[in-house]
């Protein structure tokens, strides 16, 4: 095409010649429509519109975001963070007036006709042999021109979604070249919907139909279980029918869709019967004919009218079993998060606490060898079970925070994409309560002086360990823990202001902010002590104000407001749990370790069989891609490197995870001894903050963590205490050495060494 590509194309003008500008989804819909299938009317916002929006400053900023760190070095939390920041850039960038006018003129008539679906159609997304379904966003039931334009922007932004970034290499994502088209399509509010595979993904001679009552969003995102039919591919004879529980359906509501109870009379009825089932199967076969290959077709029935919503080639899963699929499986809808929360808070956590207490009550030293082995088996089995629960339920529940963050940013468009965190922090976490108790102990120590009250202090310390300790009483682990805590208390007690600082985050707004830190930017650099550098948590009135603004922005209806409040509540639970769940699991693990140590003390071999299994989600990009460039050989050639030359890190880059500046001496944590040696005002440098390490946090002037992400443990604690924090610093614990002078710039994510 020589003429400039129009910003919007009507369905009738979509064909192979404009394929690069309209994307695979739009092209497929146009083709189906031409083949005579019923396709809801649509228009395409071409890649030319995306280009007009992104070219210039926005593109430079996307580039900046993605080139800051090698994506292969990023953990999935960091990838989510990057996607969130890019999404915010799209939201914060207004449509240029000329572009807006042009889109309004072209899409206005469609907007006037009623609600629409706004769907991604990325060039290359559904190309043969590579189907990347679900990486980009689609929005259902969007009403009015303004809302449509808003959602077009969100779909554009989803070109850089976390899911898409995970597949960056396969998709060939490149900020300078990648483009996104958007399908704006009339919504068909079908009563019955589903998916049909013209060929069963696992059996060549069979086909598959899935159906739900209501819209098919419930099926696609996994919240509504479908009825399922396996058919003989050629004859259409039904081989199997798996009936679903049929309790809920997804229906259009307000601006969007909702999960609602399925009316009682429809529960007993499968969504499809005889003729309709065969029509749906026939539709998939027809689509297969049009595209000359097996198809996966989304369909909906409105009355007796059967519509094709989408068709794409079937790709068999399994090849991508490299952690990314597991990560994408973590995404949860609001409704499923509610269920998950109930399961975690009402069942799992109390059960974990009870189990740890029951183990703790067993006097290991008194068991005979056989009894000890049996006890060890029991603990190993219990720990394994809880690791599974952790992986299955706890980790996905963290998605509540992400869902809320996105909703908050959509509603309020803050400059800081992490402003929402202020609404989450300040909810009491186990580690902040623990540290407050620690501050109390330090106070006691100070009051008692050097020689008096040793016994009373010892009792208090024991009570503290009983409540917050990770190690069981009487175990060698408890001995170590006691020594560490006593050392920490001594330090807290001898640091002039540290006692009050340790409780500052708990009391929040009442914490005094030294006059020097109010003086202006950069003041932190001159401050001498960690305590004076620490900022109090956000004052409560601001937090209330944010909450009010968030709820107001959620929408006019009670329903919207209630949903928004529910989401905030869920996110708060998720935030708290990110800290607490570790502690709960650690208690179980400590019981297992205690039994192992008792075995060791008796000289009994266990051969590693009972070692605690670690909770680990595979790193999404942990495996180097075959095409990944290898580290370059010494450019100057062998033998040319200057003898005696020494390389040393001067400035390291990670993500800003807690605003503020911390200046101090590095303490790199690689063993419990390092924790015991931790001095007030040092910078905590570690691979990842473990629950057993959090007690030194109030002593520190800043945190540097190798592990990345804004919502990881270390970042959460840093925010709680108002500490400067940089996470995701590759090689932090190797490149920084204990004793190095450090400046932690928590605004920009920079660590200066020396």
């Amino acid at each position: 095409m020589n003429a400039p590509v129009p910003l919007v194309l009507p369905a009738a003008e979509v064909d192979a010649r404009v394929a690069p500008y309209v994307g695979g989804k739009a092209l497929a819909l146009a083709k189906l429509s031409r083949a005579g299938l019923a396709v809801p009317p649509f228009s395409v916002v071409t890649t030319a519109a995306y280009e007009a929006f992104v070219d210039g400053p926005l593109q430079a900023r996307i580039l900046f975001e993605l080139e800051r760190k090698d994506v292969a070095d990023m953990r999935w939390e960091e990838i989510w963070d990057a996607a969130l920041r890019i999404r915010n850039l799209f939201l914060a960038t207004p449509l240029p007036a000329t572009l807006r006018d042009a889109l309004a003129a072209a899409l206005g008539p469609r907007a006037d006709e009623g609600p629409v679906v706004v769907r991604s159609s990325a060039p290359g997304e559904d190309s043969a042999g590579a189907s990347f379904a679900g990486l980009h966003e689609s929005y259902v039931n969007v009403r009015g021109l303004d809302a449509i334009l808003e959602h077009v922007r969100l779909v554009w932004a989803s070109l850089w979604s976390d899911a898409a970034l995970l597949y960056r290499r396969e998709l060939g994502l490149d900020p300078l070249r990648s483009r996104m088209a958007v399908v704006v399509q009339e919504i068909i509010a079908g009563e019955r919907s589903g998916v049909a595979f013209s060929r069963h993904p696992e059996r060549d001679d069979q086909a598959l139909v899935e159906a739900v009552h209501g819209l098919n969003q419930g099926l696609v995102d996994g919240t509504v279980e479908p009825d399922r039919w396996v058919l003989e591919r050629d004859s259409g004879v039904v081989l199997e029918h798996h009936a679903a529980a049929r309790e809920e359906m997804v229906a259009p509501a307000g601006a969007g869709v909702r999960l609602v109870p399925l009316p009682r009379r429809r529960r007993s009825r499968p969504p499809l019967t005889g003729d309709d089932l065969h029509r749906v199967h026939g539709l998939a076969r027809e689509a297969e004919g049009s595209f000359a290959g097996p198809q996966d077709v989304e369909w909906t029935l409105r009355g007796e009218e059967l519509f094709t919503l989408q068709s794409r080639p079937i790709t068999t899963g399994g090849a991508e079993d490299d952690g990314r699929a597991a990560y994408l499986g973590l995404r949860r809808s609001y409704d499923s998060l509610v269920v998950l929360r109930r399961r975690i808070e009402e069942e799992a956590l109390p059960a974990m606490a009870a189990e740890a207490a029951a183990f703790a009550a067993v006097p290991l030293a008194e068991l005979d060898d056989g009894g000890l082995l049996a006890e060890l088996e029991r603990r190993k089995q219990a720990h394994d079970g809880w690791v599974d629960v952790y992986t299955r339920d706890f980790i996905p529940f963290a998605h509540a925070v992400r869902l809320f963050g996105q909703a908050y940013n959509d509603a309020l468009r803050p400059d800081d994409p992490y402003e929402f965190v202020a609404l989450l922090s300040g909810t009491p976490m186990l580690s902040t309560r623990r540290n407050a108790a620690l501050a109390g102990l330090a106070h006691l120590r100070r009051e008692a002086g050097d020689d008096a009250g040793d016994e009373a202090f010892a009792l208090e310390l024991e009570a503290f360990l009983d409540e917050f300790g990770l190690e069981p009483p009487g175990s060698p682990g408890r001995e170590r823990e006691r020594a560490t805590m006593a050392a920490v208390v001594e330090r807290l007690a001898s640091a002039p202001a540290a006692g009050s600082a340790a409780s500052a985050a708990v009391t929040g707004p009442t914490a005094d902010r030294p006059a020097t830190s109010a003086a202006g930017p950069g003041d932190g650099v001159e401050d001498a002590t960690a305590a004076s550098r620490r900022r109090p948590a956000m004052p409560a009135p601001d937090r209330d104000d944010l909450e009010r603004r968030y709820l107001q922005a959620a929408g006019g209806g009670d329903d919207e407001r209630e949903r928004a409040a529910g989401l905030l509540d869920l996110a708060r639970a998720g935030w708290r749990l990110r800290d607490d769940d570790n502690a709960y699991l650690d208690r179980i693990e400590a019981q297992l370790t205690a039994a192992l140590e008792e075995m060791g003390r008796r000289g009994l071999e266990t051969g590693g069989r009972f070692a605690p299994r670690a909770v680990a989600l595979p790193s999404p990009l942990g495996r180097p891609h075959p095409a990944a460039p290898q580290p370059a050989a010494d450019a100057a050639g062998p033998g040319a490197s200057p003898s005696g030359a020494v390389a040393k890190a001067r400035q390291l880059v990670g993500q800003p995870a807690g605003p503020g500046v911390g200046v101090g001496i590095a303490r790199v944590i690689s063993s419990p001894d390092d924790l015991r040696a931790f001095e007030e005002g040092e910078i905590l440098v570690c691979d990842a903050i473990e629950p057993g390490m959090t007690f030194v946090v109030p002593l520190s002037a800043g945190i540097v963590e190798r592990r990345g992400g804004m919502l990881i443990h270390g970042a959460i604690i840093a925010r709680e205490y108002g500490l400067p924090c940089v996470t995701g610093v590759p090689g932090a614990t190797e490149l920084i050495h204990t004793g190095d002078p450090l400046t932690v710039d928590g605004y920009l994510g920079i660590v200066v060494v020396g």
Partner: protein, 149 residues
């Protein structure tokens, strides 16, 4: 057009095209050079750049505020010897504060939109090089001095 206007036009062209310059500082530890993003004022009297306060360059220029900045149009090819233009700006540098900082920040961010977060971070200092003299080099060895004040 006289020499002054020709030089000013060349300068304006160069400074509006280029985004990066080499900042030369010196101090007790010796000389130092660093690459910085800059923005020039319309009258070309001032070059604004940004750095975080923990950097070596910031420490150096705080101790010795007289600096030089090299800005050039080279593309790392043979033709550069004839076609590239380079200018060295010399003068005192000072950190901007208050309104002056806000104004300079707007100009700087307009020139480098992707550096918005960097320029507005509390740890970042915005610095103004008030140019006393530009030394403009063309065609390998043609040098013109432009005294600004």
């Amino acid at each position: 057009m006289d020499e002054r206007d020709v030089t000013l036009d060349l300068l304006r062209e160069l400074l509006s095209r280029q985004r990066l310059g080499v900042l030369a500082t010196h101090g007790e530890s010796g000389p130092y050079a660093s690459l910085v993003a800059f923005a020039a004022t319309d009258d070309l009297g001032r070059l604004t750049f940004a750095t975080t306060r923990a950097t070596r360059k910031f420490q150096l220029l705080t101790a010795e505020p007289r600096v030089a900045m090299l800005i050039d149009s080279r593309s790392d090819a043979d033709l550069d010897f004839h076609r590239a233009t380079a200018v060295t700006a010399v003068g005192p540098v000072a950190e901007l504060e208050g309104e002056a900082r806000d104004e300079a920040c707007v100009r700087f961010v307009a020139r480098h939109p992707h550096l918005t977060d960097f320029a507005t971070a509390p740890t970042t200092a915005l610095l103004a090089l008030d140019v006393e003299t530009y030394y403009l080099v063309r065609r390998f060895q043609t040098v013109t001095e432009l005294h600004m004040r």
